[in-house]
Symmetry: D2
C-alpha cells in the first residue's frame, strides 16, 4: 500500500529533494506537484535531473484536487505558507518545511520574523518536527513544522546535554558552517559561483539569525528556564552540508557518554568514538547525522561537532521521516540511502 502525497513548492531545492527521495520510497506516491510561476511545465524542464521519473505536471495550488491525497508536503517560502496552509482542506495531513509554524509563541514569531502571525490557530496546532524528540506527537499530528536546518544541527549536539544538566547553560556557543543550498534558489550576487566559490564569510553574526528563535524555544523548554546561546553562521563554498562546532563547558567524557547513550538506538544519529571528528562529506545526500566529541586542552571545556545534510536530514529527509510516522509507515522507510562520496 502506498500513500498519495502532494508537494507544494516543487520548483525549489527542498521540493526537488522530496521528489528525489520519494522516487525510491516504496510507501509514497506523488499525486500532485505545485509551482505557481511554473505551472503547466513538466518537472523535467525545471529539474532535468528528475527526467527519468513519471511525474504529474506542475500546477497552481488551487488547481490541485486534494481528494484522495493522504499527506501534503509544503515547501513554500516563509510567510506565504501561512496563507496557503490556511486554505488547505482541514483534514489534510501536512508536513511544512517553511519557518512559519516552528515557533509556538506568537510574540517570538513576530520578533524573529518581523510581522504578526496570520494563522494563529494553525500555529497552536503545529508540532515541532525534530523527529527524535517529538516522535509521539508527530505520529498523532495533523500539521508538523519542519525545523530549521541549522536549528536541527545545533539541537542534535545539545539537547541531551541540556536535559541531563551536564553543561553550563549560560555559556553555549555554536559556530556553524553551512553549504549554500540552504539559501535556496535565490538569485543574489553573493550566491553566484563567481562570488561564493573559493572563499568564506560569516553572515547574521551576533545573534541575528532567525534559527535562534528555535534554539531559544527548545533549549529553554528543556531546561525549564531561559537559555540563550551564541550562534554565528558562516557560508562555505559547498552545496550541501552543515557543520556545527558547539563549544560547551562540561566534562568531555560525560558529554560524550551522554550523547552516545541518548542516541544509541537512533537509526540516523551516529555518535563517533570519543575524539573522532566528523566531516560533512560523510553524510552528503543522506539522512544521517554524525556527532563527534572531544575535550579541549583547557579542563572542563568540550567541543561537540555535529554534521548533517541541510537538504536531507535538515529538511526534506526529516520531512519524510515525519511523514512516515504520520502515515504509520516504518520511520526509516525510503531514507536509508547511503551518503554519496566522493
Amino acid at each position: 500500500m502506498t500513500a498519495k502525497v502532494a508537494i507544494l513548492g516543487a520548483s525549489g531545492y527542498t521540493g526537488a529533494e522530496l521528489v528525489r527521495l520519494i522516487a525510491t520510497h516504496e510507501g509514497l506516491e506523488i499525486a500532485a506537484l505545485s509551482a505557481d510561476r511554473k505551472a503547466g511545465m513538466d518537472m523535467a524542464d525545471v529539474f532535468p535531473f528528475l527526467r527519468h521519473l513519471t511525474l504529474p505536471k506542475l500546477q497552481k495550488i488551487d488547481e490541485i484536487d486534494f481528494t484522495g491525497i493522504d499527506l501534503c508536503f509544503c515547501a513554500l517560502p516563509h510567510a506565504t505558507t501561512q496563507q496557503v496552509v490556511s486554505a488547505l482542506p482541514r483534514n489534510l495531513r501536512i508536513v511544512d518545511l517553511s519557518a512559519d509554524f516552528r515557533l509556538r509563541d506568537p510574540a517570538a514569531y513576530e520578533r524573529w520574523y518581523g510581522q504578526p502571525h496570520a494563522a494563529l490557530d494553525l500555529q497552536a496546532e503545529a508540532v515541532y518536527g525534530l523527529t527524535e524528540f517529538y516522535r509521539d506527537e508527530i505520529a498523532k499530528a495533523r500539521l508538523v513544522a519542519g525545523t530549521g536546518c541549522n536549528a536541527a544541527t545545533g539541537q542534535y549536539a545539545l539537547r541531551p546535554l541540556i536535559s541531563k544538566g551536564c553543561i553550563d547553560l549560560d555559556d553555549i556557543l555554536i559556530d556553524l558552517k553551512a553549504g549554500v543550498s540552504g539559501a535556496g534558489r535565490s538569485l543574489k550576487e553573493n550566491l553566484l559561483h563567481a562570488e561564493l566559490s573559493g572563499g568564506t564569510h560569516s553572515y547574521s553574526a551576533g545573534g541575528k539569525h532567525r534559527h535562534l528563535g528555535e534554539f531559544d524555544q527548545e533549549f529553554s523548554a528543556i531546561a525549564g528556564r531561559p537559555v540563550l546561546v551564541q550562534f554565528t553562521p558562516h557560508l562555505l563554498p559547498m552545496n550541501r552540508g552543515i557543520l556545527a562546532t558547539v563549544y560547551v563547558k562540561g566534562d568531555p567524557k560525560v558529554v560524550h557518554e551522554t550523547l552516545a547513550t541518548a542516541y544509541a538506538a537512533e537509526p540516523f544519529l551516529k555518535v563517533l568514538p570519543f575524539g573522532a571528528l566528523p566531516s560533512t562529506r560523510d553524510i552528503a545526500a543522506s539522512n544521517y547525522c554524525h556527532i563527534g566529541v572531544t575535550g579541549d586542552r583547557i579542563p572542563g571545556r568540550t567541543v561537540v561537532i555535529a554534521v548533517l545534510d541541510n537538504l536531507t536530514k535538515g529538511s526534506s529527509g526529516q520531512a519524510i521521516q515525519n511523514a512516515n510516522l504520520m502515515l504509520g509507515l516504518p520511520e526509516t522507510q525510503g531514507l536509508l540511502l547511503a551518503p554519496v562520496f566522493p
Copy 2:
C-alpha cells in the same frame, strides 16, 4: 533471495561506490571485502561515509573463503587484476572493473598497456561489459570486463550511429571532459584540491589515452572495417561526471532519430529532445546517461553530447547492472536511485 557477493579492492572509489549502491540493493548481500594494505580495518575507518552499514572487516584476498559466494566484484588496479583473477576459483562469477580484460586482441592489449597479457585464457573468456550492447552474452558469462568510463560515454554517443551507417566513419572526434574521481585515489600533486580546483587542462591529448583501445575494438567490430577516432580528454574541477562532446559528419535529425530509436526502451539511456543539451549535474551519483543532439551551423555536421557519472554508470553502477543479469535478477534492481542535485 539475495546473492552473496565479495568486493576485491574495497578501499578505492569504485569499491566504495559498489558498497554504496549495494547498501540499498535488496538482491545483493556483501559477504566479503578485501583491501590488501588495509586488511584488518573496518570499512568505516577507511570510508566513514559507510559508517551506518554493518559490513565484514577488510581482509587480504587470500584470507577470503569464497564458498557460498555467488559473484565477485574485482575493483583492483590494472595489471595486478590478471594475477588475482587467475587465482580465484574457476567457478566464481566475476565482474571486473579494471582494464585487464577489456581488449580481446592480446596484441592490442600489449600495445595500449605496455606489457604482454598474463592471463590469455581469461582474456579470451571475458565478455565486454557495455550492458546495453552485450546483454545476452553478459547474462551467460562467467567473467565480465567492465568498460572504461570514458569508453562507455563515447560508445553510448556513437555505437548506433556507426551500426546504422549514418555518419562519416573517417572523421569522428571525441572531446571529453572528465571529473577527477576517474583518476582514483592516487596521490599525485595535480590531483590535490589546491592544484586541480579552479582550472582545467587536457591530458593524454593526441591519441594517447588507453580507452582508445576500446573505441578501436568496438567501433571497428561494428563497422566491419577499421575505425579510428580522435579522442582528447580534459580534467575538470569536479568530482563526478563525464561529458563527451562528439563531433560527427552526418545529418543532425537522422543522428537524433537513430539514437532515440536505438535507446527508446533502455531504462538508463535517455535521449533528450533535439537541440536540448545535457549536463553532468543531472546524472550525478546515478546510473543514468543523458544524450543530446544538435546540428552545427555548417550543414552535415552534428554534435552529440553524452553525460554519465564515471563512478556509477561508468563503472560501479554498470558492474551491478551486469551482475544483476548474471545472477538472474531484474537488470535495474538497486540502480534506480535518482541523481543528486544540487
Copy 3:
C-alpha cells in the same frame, strides 16, 4: 606622468578587473567611475576587495566631467554601449569592452545581435582590439573594440595558421571550456554556486554563439575567402579561465613551428614546447596566454590548445594593453603581474 582614465560600468566584473590592474599601473590614474544603479556608492561597498584603494565615488555617466580625462574604458552591457558612446565627447579616446563595435559589417552585427546597429559611424571608426594583430591601428585609434574573450582565445590559436596557409580552412573545430566569470554578474539560476559547481554542460552549441561573428570576420579577412569554423563552448565550474581545444588538419610540427615563430617576440603569448599541454591554472589573474600543440595519432591532424584568463587577457588586461598603446605608454606597463597559483 600618468594619464587620467574613466571607467564606465565599474560595478561589473570587467570594470572591477580594470580597477584591480590599474591599482598597480604607474602610468594610469582613475579619475572617474560610473555605475548607474549604484551611483553615489563607494566602490568599496560594491567590491570590498578594493577597499584599500582611494577611488572616486560611483557616478551616473552624465554626471562625469570628461575634461582632462585622457581615455575612457567602457565596460557596459552590449547594446546600451552604442548609445552611451555616441553621447561621449568626440575627442575622447575610448577602449570599449562590450560587443558593440567588434563587427565591421553592419549586416553581420544585425545577424548575430538581433538588431540593427545604432551607431554606424562609430562602428566604422572602431579598430578591432586584438592587440598583437592590430598594434599600429590601435596606437592611432580613437575607439578600440575589445574582442570577445572566447574569440581572443580561438584567434591566438589559429590566426598564424590561417595566414600561413598550413591548415585545411574547411575543417577547423574549436571546442572551448570557459569559466563562469565570463557570464558576468548576471543573476541566473544556472550561475548560482549550487547549480554550477561540480558539473559541466555545453551552451550555444551548434554554431549559435555570438563570438562566431568575430571568428568569421577575422578568419575570412586573413584567408581572403570565407572561413567558417565549428565552435562549441562549455561552461565549467571555475571562475576564471578559458581553454580552447582547437582541432585542425595540418602537420603538427609545422603548426607548432608556425605559432612559435609568429609569437617569438610577443611578451604575453607563450608557445610551449611541442607536446606540452597548457592549463588555465597557469595563467589565472594574469595577462599571459599559453599555447600548446600536439599531433594526433591520425596523421595530418593536430590539436592546438590555448589558455587565457577571460577577465584579464580576454578583456580588461587586453583593454589596458590597448590603452597603453593609445596613450604612448609601454605596451606591457602594469600587465606583468604573475599568475596566481594555487
Copy 4:
C-alpha cells in the same frame, strides 16, 4: 638598487608565492633557488605558472654560492630548517617561513613539536616575524621567524585587545576556517580534490594544533600572565584564505574602537566599520588583512572576525614585508597588489 635574494625550498607553495611576489617587486632580484629533489630543473617545469619569468635553475642548497646574496628566504619543512639554517653563512640575513624559530622557549618548542630544538643559539637570536608588532626588532634582525598563518590571523584579531585589557583573558575562543594551501603540497588522501571539495571538517580540535604554541607565547607576553585560548581549526574547500572567528567577552564598541585605533596607520590591516563582516574573497592573493567586529545579542560578548590569505599575508607576503624592513626598503614595496576577485 635591488637586493639579491635566494629562496630555499622553491618547489613548495610558499616558495612559489615568494617568486610570484618578487616578480613585480622592483627592489628584489632572485639570485638563487633551491629544491633538493628537483635540483637541475627549471622552475617553469615545477611551476608552469612562472614560465614567463627568467629565473635561475633549481639547485641543491650546498651548490648555492651565497656570495653577494643579501638575504635568504627559507621555505623548507619544519625540523630540517634548523639544520639547514645552522649551516648557512653566519652573516647572511634570513627570513624563515618554517615553524622552527617561532617559539622562544626551548621547552615549549619541544612540547609542541615533539623533539628538542637542534639550534638553540639560532632560536635565541630569532625575532618573531609579526611585522606590525616587531618592526624595530625585525629591521635590526639577522634571522626572522615567520609566524604561523593561523597564528597571524588570530593575533591580528586579539593583540590590541589583550594589551589594552578590554576583554576577559580567561575566555577567548578562536574558531578558525582555513583553505587547503596551508597544508602545503603534501600528498595525502584527504587533500585530494575528490575528498576535500564540497565538504568541511575540523582537525586538531581540542587544543592540539601547534600554532597554539605561538598564541600562548605571544598573548602571555603581552598580558604579563599566562593566557590560554581555545583554538579549533577547520579545513574548508578553498585554496587560499583563513577566516578566524574570535569570540571574546568585552564590550563590542570598545573592542571595535581599540582595533580601529591600533591599526589606523597600518597599510595592510583594515578594520571594517562596526558590524560589517569580512570575507576571505576580498583579500585573496593579497597582503591585506580585513577585520570586522560585531556585538552578540548577549550583552558583553563580542565577535571579532579576521581574514587574510595564508600564502600571502600569512607567510610569503609577510616574509617580504619583513625582508623589506631588514633591507631598508619601503615596507610596502612589492606588496600593494590588489586582491583578485572573483
